[in-house]
């Protein structure tokens, strides 16, 4: 088997490119896979693992403008490398709108899929839940939502979940709740021959975390609010717990880097360790763009270098499926 090549966009996120690059180069993962970085010429190091790109897309730039004018931006060049099979997966923490549009344009959609969606996994009281769309499509029709259900169910099968349950994120469980598109999606999902998945109806934001559905379907606006609200309230709670727990326990909860062999040997309760990694779900491994031809992962603009590594590890797993 060839060594896997993971492309990473150094630019357009909140990390200084120099620091992000150093963290990636020094990580043990770079011994198991080729990390090909796409970024400004001034950061170029190893010419075999760095693609110098003269432009990059700003966080607040208009996606349409960026798409038309910045064909040499780091994210566009990376996606073209993916299209040409020069890399096996591509990761960016840049402008979401530009990234999704570029991926659709450069890679193309999987046949029959109208709208690719960003898919993330979140913790619940039981098994994790696959949520899509978490930000690719601000407004969605019922047809899009039904396709998200199918793509979410398919992604569960890759994970070994044979007959996944699918719910619609809504403000109440009754079929008449929510927007007209949600009501239509409810009807369509209910009337569908359910060989690929079981439709569990509408799920409220509160009930998602009980862990009774494998897939949660929503439009990209609501899904993004859902994901980030969870992160915000988790941070709030951790902040308060900082006043209750011992310093070592608190460090266990808030550390942003993956655990390394700690010489200081804080006595961190394993359950707190567990909780900490659960609550930092939003950082890693990023969201997978499903529905395009290729493995494309979007990280938050505020992702730490550790989150990029998690995304790269996730990409490696997907390549091996």
């Amino acid at each position: 088997m060839n060594r896997r090549k993971i492309g990473i966009d150094l630019m357009g996120n909140e990390n200084p490119p120099e620091i992000l690059k150093a963290a990636l180069r020094n990580h043990p993962l770079s011994k198991n896979a080729d990390l090909v970085l796409f970024g400004a010429p001034e950061y170029q190091d190893d010419p075999h693992h760095y693609v110098a790109t003269p432009e990059f897309i700003e966080m607040d730039e208009s996606p349409l403008y960026a798409l038309r004018r910045k064909k040499k931006a780091s994210m566009s060049v990376g996606l073209r490398w993916l299209k040409a099979n020069k890399i096996d997966a591509f990761i960016s923490a840049g402008n979401t709108g530009a990234f999704v549009s570029s991926a659709k344009m450069i890679l193309g959609n999987i046949p029959g899929i109208l709208r690719p969606a960003l898919l993330a996994r979140m913790p619940t009281k039981k098994k994790p839940v696959t949520v899509l769309d978490v930000g690719a499509n601000i407004q969605c029709t019922s047809t899009h939502l039904v396709q998200f259900a199918k793509m979410g169910a398919a992604s569960c099968k890759i994970l070994g979940i044979d007959n996944p349950t699918v719910g619609l994120l809504n403000i109440g469980s009754e079929p008449i709740k929510g927007t007209s598109e949600l009501r239509l999606a409810y009807q369509a999902l209910q009337n569908m021959p359910q060989s690929a998945f079981r439709f569990a109806g509408n799920i409220e934001g509160k009930s998602v975390f009980d862990g009774d559905v494998d897939v949660l379907v929503t439009d990209g606006f609501t899904g993004n609010i859902f994901l980030k609200t969870g992160e915000g309230i988790a941070n709030l709670i951790l902040d308060r717990f900082g006043e209750i727990l011992s310093p070592g326990e608190y460090q266990g909860l808030t550390r942003k880097q993956p655990k390394t062999d700690s010489p200081s040997g804080f006595g961190i309760h394993p359950k707190i360790q567990d909780l900490a990694s659960m609550l930092h779900y939003a950082e890693h491994p990023g969201a997978l763009l499903v529905g395009v031809r290729g493995i494309v992962i979007k990280c938050h603009g505020y992702s730490t270098p550790a989150a990029f590594i998690k995304a790269a590890e996730g990409a490696l797993e997907l390549i091996s499926v």
Copy 2:
């Protein structure tokens, strides 16, 4: 000063009416205010504090149907008592759509307000944030959102906050983010002479909990998802902490009833006590329907009797303003 009269709809929520009634009647609040209950004739006790209503609206009933056909439902009769000044405030945990529509129809809107909104307060790392709309209007135009900003700011002034900051819940901070209605609302709020409040721009779900805005404006669908997601993730975290904390501490976190003099005397850490009441925000004091003529409070369908009491206490405070 006359004794205050708080109307409470016994019906259409998840509590058995008999049990809810007993909890309300036995609570010390009923010594300070008249609790007038609206419900089915079979539960009638004191005829001076009980209005027997032959109908009630089911949780999953179509609001339009209920409005047209069930004029003698407990919530409709209660709202007419409020209109006639026979009670000073009215509380229901029934069907949200029917309750909001009935309140608009029976009480009428405040002049100039197109859409009343449900207003709730949530905890943050600093001061609480006032969020509206949390469920009255599934779809909103920019004009509605701007009116919510004004009503939210006005409610802050009642609380003594002189120059409140107002943010728009969105998926990114840039003015171009989100739906077209959000972009229009952003422009309108930015161009408004800001004497009544300061516009802080778009706020992400993650940043709301930093506590930098006093008012968070959103449509009722997104706001409801936001509110319930916060509750869901808080429950998830408490569930995990149950495995870490001592039984006494855990009881402090999860108990649903307000603290009474506990003979068992568990050693609950005051910070945990504090966190617990913060995390149960969603239960109490319910959401205030702003923009109608009268004090109207909506509780969740799954509100405990304690949440009804909190709502009644909130109503009493508002009456005294």
